[in-house]
Amino acid sequence: MPRRDDIHKILLIGSGPIVIGQAAEFDYSGTQACRVLQEEGYEVVLVNSNPATIMTDPGLASATYVEPLLPGPVTQVIERERPDALLGTLGGQTALNLAKALHENGTLKRYGVELIGADYEAIDRAEDRERFRDTMTAAGLRVPDSMVAHSVQDAQAAVARLGLPFIVRPAFTLGGTGGGVVRCRDELGTVVGRGLAASPINQVLLEESVLGWGEFELEVMRDHADNVVIVCSIENLDPMGVHTGDSVCVAPQQTLSDKQYQLLRDQAITAIRAVGVETGGSNVQFAVNRATEEVVVIEMNPRVSRSSALASKATGFPIAKIAARLAVGYTLQEIPNDITRATPASFEPAIDYCVVKWPRFAFEKFPGAEAGLTTHMKSVGEVMAIGRTFQQAFAKALRSRELDQAPEIPDADAELLDAVKQPGAERFDCLLEALGRSMPIEDLQRATDIDPWFLRELSDLVRRAGGLQSPFAGRRTFKSVDTCAAEFAAQTPYYYSSWERPAPVGPAHEVQRGDRPSVVILGSGPNRIGQGIEFDYCCVHAVQTVRESGRDAVMINCNPETVSTDYDVSDRLYFEPLTLDDVLAVCEVEQPEGVVVQFGGQTPLKLAAGLEAAGVRILGTGIEAIDLAEDRSRFGALLERLGYQAPPYATADSAEGAIACAQQVGFPLLVRPSYVLGGRAMEIVYSVDGLRDYLDRVGPRDGSVIYLDRFLEDSIEVDVDALCDGDQVWVAGIMQHVEEAGIHSGDSACVLPPHTLGEEMMAQIREETEGIARALGVVGLINVQFAIHAGGLYVIEANPRASRTVPFVSKSIGLPLAKLACRITLGERIGDLGLPEHTSNGHVCVKEAVMPFNRFAGADALLGPEMRSTGEVMGIAPDFPTAFAKAQAAAGAQLPASGTAFITVADRDKPAATGLATVLHDLGFRIIATGGTAQAIRKMGIPAEAINKIGEGSPHVVDWIERGDVDLVINTPVGTGARADGYEIRTAAIAHGIPCITTMAGGIAAARAISAARRGGPEAAELGAPVVSLQEIHESGHEIGAVGSPVV
């Protein structure tokens, strides 16, 4: 059947901010869907609150709404746009839940919007634990025995039936949020309680434990004619008990016999039919007991997922793209396999290589958090490696991870065995060490339940001569990912390196290079805190620009979640680790015109010097400028020469040196080690004692230095993104941070244009940005951070590369900054770009960071100089308070319109707090506060009820929060005591989903936002502020420098 022509306009929902469990893979799937639906001639309306996505580029939809992913705003979009259909299976759990909510509240019916992909019944059958279980059982499949609990008491009763341990799975959460394992009765209350709180319907499933069984996933696709194919199987090295997102995985599965595999295949097909996903992709997870051959179905996602992105990259079968076509009526047979072009998509890829996926963790950023791996996902990114053998792929994945510091390996064998036994971030590093020390495989198998096949392969890997380098014997040869194990000629250029005996026939590499000049763009590797999807966004824009310039764009990256590793995006994709050696090997084959290093964050920048030394040309800002900006003393000298102020600073390579310098620089100090990204280990210290404590914990380590900067208290931070062609400078965006200085720029909300800076200050910021860019010799993008302190402007730092804020600025001003920068790196001048003098469009844009505290039980939910956010959202409105409120709502902290506000602040904030209390009181809030704060507020004549601090006994503040009697928490930190009241308060607020504001500036912005929202009345508050599309805001803007869709 051909495409449906009874629908014309399709609403697509994205997945919102990057959070743990829902990352860039949904930009990849959503972007593919937008492109396909447009190609098919449909009008696409898109809603996504995340500006750092390719899918929200204006060319990919006829109307793009960067609005909160909540029923209210989306209902407004539906009312304005009147789409015929809603495709909700490509935006992760967020889109699925939203689609479900819009069905349940009658919105879809009211506006005649059809759910395509999976209908409501199918979504509910897969997502509701009880219905899923009944559906599977009715279809003859086994599921773990389980019971639904709505309370801790229910759970206590379950012990008799299920035994211990058992698994807790909250209903309707993503990435296993709030899930866990109850191993003994003592843990029951905590783990079940957390699960109930995490579930929007206060329901958890308690499940028979299959801990230690093998975990497998099958990616299934079905068309409306009921044809089903399995795209890929994925086997987890970590057995059941570790979330699949946190597991090291291999594709395809390696250890099941054909008979066992076909059984899983049959069951996966039965499952998708039983659930009734009519069209599209689903993911079915199984646990397999190898000894007894028992198989149980664990779960099924009736949508594209992280695993389907991995499967797509692992096989070359673009699941999301095909799912979008299936949703509009095509059958699998009618869709061509665009790798072979000669064969249809109704087939199962044959793989002649091995794929290994490794998670990337960030526990070092969350001191105090439980670092063990459970069914609750905690990794922040992942890498994928392709090799001809498991050992090649595994060793490549190891070097793709780009760890900031070497894993900690215990010396004693007993401790090492313990580290191997407990699933954790460094488990496999410890396992390799244990195998290297010749610990018996049988012991390690008992300790880990990891399949002995993997243990033997890993043992072989570490024990052979050459160790981790041993799989790389022979000649490096680039081979294609072709979906068919070379049975047919492949058209799509998607390559990986393999090491082989030289073959007597055929080319040395399968690369089809052509004659056009090529430019290599280096990607940003695994997502991590501090280097996320924003950089992939910039890389994709660079790729598009290189292609538009008539050159071949060559992408190198190892992150399977991203748009940049979609083989459709570049002319040639090399799925390779971003190490100097691997990049040079690609350059040898490509002989590129040059390499672009400024879009992928710190990762490519680190390679620039080595590339240049090897004779590879760096396009754009050169290594001299990079060094000038990064070397503190050289940069300090440059600022001095320019006559710009900077906070006093010093560097020290020893603890004594640091203490000596500290006196000269003056307290408070912002201290950090030199080698870090995302403010890793960055802290503010107020005294020599504080500094000593820091030095004891952090360093300096061998060969590194400690930076000490005077911290400018009570200052306003400003971020600037600008373009420079080496001579002329164009300031694209000036952003004012909402939180005061001391909060990492990546974690701070910011507003564009600045809401409180005067014209004179703006002019000075522009002038100094221009001066720095020119003095550094930047060719491309530069980001400068300033602090405004006591009326004076101070330069904090400059980064001569694309910054985290580039996508936000681009969406705010309606100009694609990264594309413009790439044109400059390819030789154009700013004068050639036709840039407008002013970028103002009458709207205020607010970026808000999204924090992962709910994933890290035990860590303090406090903002500070160390970046800890995983993603961002954007709010757009005609005024600052409304934009701020939208951003808060989009970030998951929808501000209350009324209720009770709890205020407790440090002494220095008390004057500001009384002002805030006055505003909230006038808005009708009931004010509660702890002793000192309450007294201060009452002095202003505002009624404030005093409640107990934790130490003062129950009912204390945490009890209030847990009872649900608090709607808004304003809490500024006093000191850094990890177990102080503030910590408990913030943790309780996060756990109960109550907005928790930890800075006075944030509190004041929130009060103004609440006031703005209240103006429209209660109904308006529910719908949220009026929605507006990017296309409407930038009516004329996107003509300049932008090209809507990529060259295909």
Partner: protein
């Protein structure tokens, strides 16, 4: 481990390591893209006279076991791999893969850039070649290859057929959940090298299965009054099996005749259709085949080097339509088509009872999508009986 090499008749040589029996093997070199089921492949009689290149890089991961045997012995002459693994760790493993091959006296080579080899075979077509120990001089290896007959015109069924008739009773358990509803159904099989999975599927559906030597006479075949005749899979060129084709011509119209793989080709030849050699054959577990009467696309197990020409004499059929041949026994209608290369995958005789498929509904190894075909065949036999 000692060195070994693969030599092709065109002189191309790929180096690797010897990893099983230390001997030479020559024959036709083919490749399979199936990602599991290496033991099933090696013991499939259809691979007689062939050396199998596995495109999946790691072979042997879960060992070998009795259950996975598709016949009583290894039929392929050698295994060519990127990486051979001898692990016995899998709970189901009775022996390590390489140890087992060694025990069976079968040479194997690994460390070969199998993808480069497969690309060469894909472009040049399957060809004769061999696996040789490093110590064997190249010219001697080339002589052995030259002495090997071409697959075209080769009767290999005679090598794998049983010497006398074997009668197998129905089983209740089997790969199908169907209970035998018609015990007493009797199927005579012309055993040109039948896979055990085919036999298992028929027995599990309540049939007594007689396996006859492929040279058996019409009288012997019909002696026990079977309800239908099955033509088995098997190795070699269907064009070299005229003696079987003659027997089959005598059966058509008398009772239902079904064929799988080589059996499909033989039945087609018996009704007057032509077969031809494919460039490198179909060997794998992922080929999409469209069942034209139902419109369903099934993922199938494939293992054949020859195919049947379409009604207009063309090797491929452009449209998904039940085109017809005029045969010596009335009309035949296309029922199955390969969506990869649009070759004939199955047909039904319209004027006499009979139907065939080119692919392997019994899987072993491969997907179970087409197992229902046995239900259909057995159902038709039952209805006709």
């Amino acid at each position: 481990m000692t060195g070994a090499y693969v030599l092709l008749e065109d002189g191309t040589r790929f180096d690797g390591r010897s990893c099983a029996a230390d001997a030479a093997a020559v024959g036709e070199i083919v490749f399979t893209t199936s990602m599991s089921g290496y033991q099933e492949a090696m013991t499939d009689p259809s691979y007689t006279g062939q050396l199998i290149t596995f495109t999946f890089p790691m072979i042997g991961n879960y060992g070998v076991c009795t259950e996975a045997m598709e016949s009583d012995r290894v039929h392929a002459r050698a295994a060519i791999m990127r990486s051979g693994i001898d692990s016995e760790d899998s709970p189901g493993a009775e022996r390590g893969w390489l140890s087992w091959l060694t025990d069976c006296g079968i040479p194997a080579i690994d460390g070969v850039d199998t993808r480069a080899l497969v690309r060469h075979l894909r472009d040049q077509g399957a060809m004769r070649g061999g696996v040789f120990p490093e110590r064997m001089p190249l010219d001697q290896a080339a002589e052995l290859i030259a002495a090997e007959p071409h697959m075209h015109g080769c009767d290999l069924a005679a090598d794998v057929t049983p010497t006398q008739t074997v009668v197998l009773e129905p089983t209740v358990s089997g790969p199908s959940v169907l209970e035998p509803t018609h015990p007493g159904l009797r199927i005579a099989m012309i055993d040109t090298g039948v896979k055990l999975s085919i036999v298992r599927n028929l027995r599990a559906r309540g049939a007594v299965v007689e396996l006859h030597p492929c040279s058996c006479s019409l009288e012997n075949l019909l002696a026990n009054q079977p309800d239908a005749v099955f033509l088995a899979n098997g190795p070699g060129d269907p064009g070299a099996l005229d003696y079987i084709v003659e027997t089959v011509r005598g059966l058509i119209g008398k009772l239902p005749v079904y064929g799988i793989c080589l059996g499909h080709q033989l039945l087609c030849r018996a009704v007057g259709l032509e077969t031809y050699k494919l460039p490198f054959g179909h060997h794998g577990a992922n080929h999409p085949v469209k069942d034209l009467p139902t419109g369903r696309v099934e993922i199938t197990s494939q293992n054949h080097g020859f195919a049947v020409l379409g009604p207009d004499g063309s090797p491929t059929i452009d449209r998904d339509e039940p085109v017809r041949w005029e045969t010596d026994f009335g009309a035949a209608e296309l029922t199955h088509i390969n969506l990869y290369d649009r070759t004939v995958e199955g047909l039904a005789l319209k004027d006499v009872p009979g139907a065939t498929v080119q692919y392997h509904p019994e899987a072993g190894p491969g997907p179970h999508d087409a197992l229902h075909l046995f239900d259909r065949f057995v159902g038709e036999i039952r209805d006709a009986a």
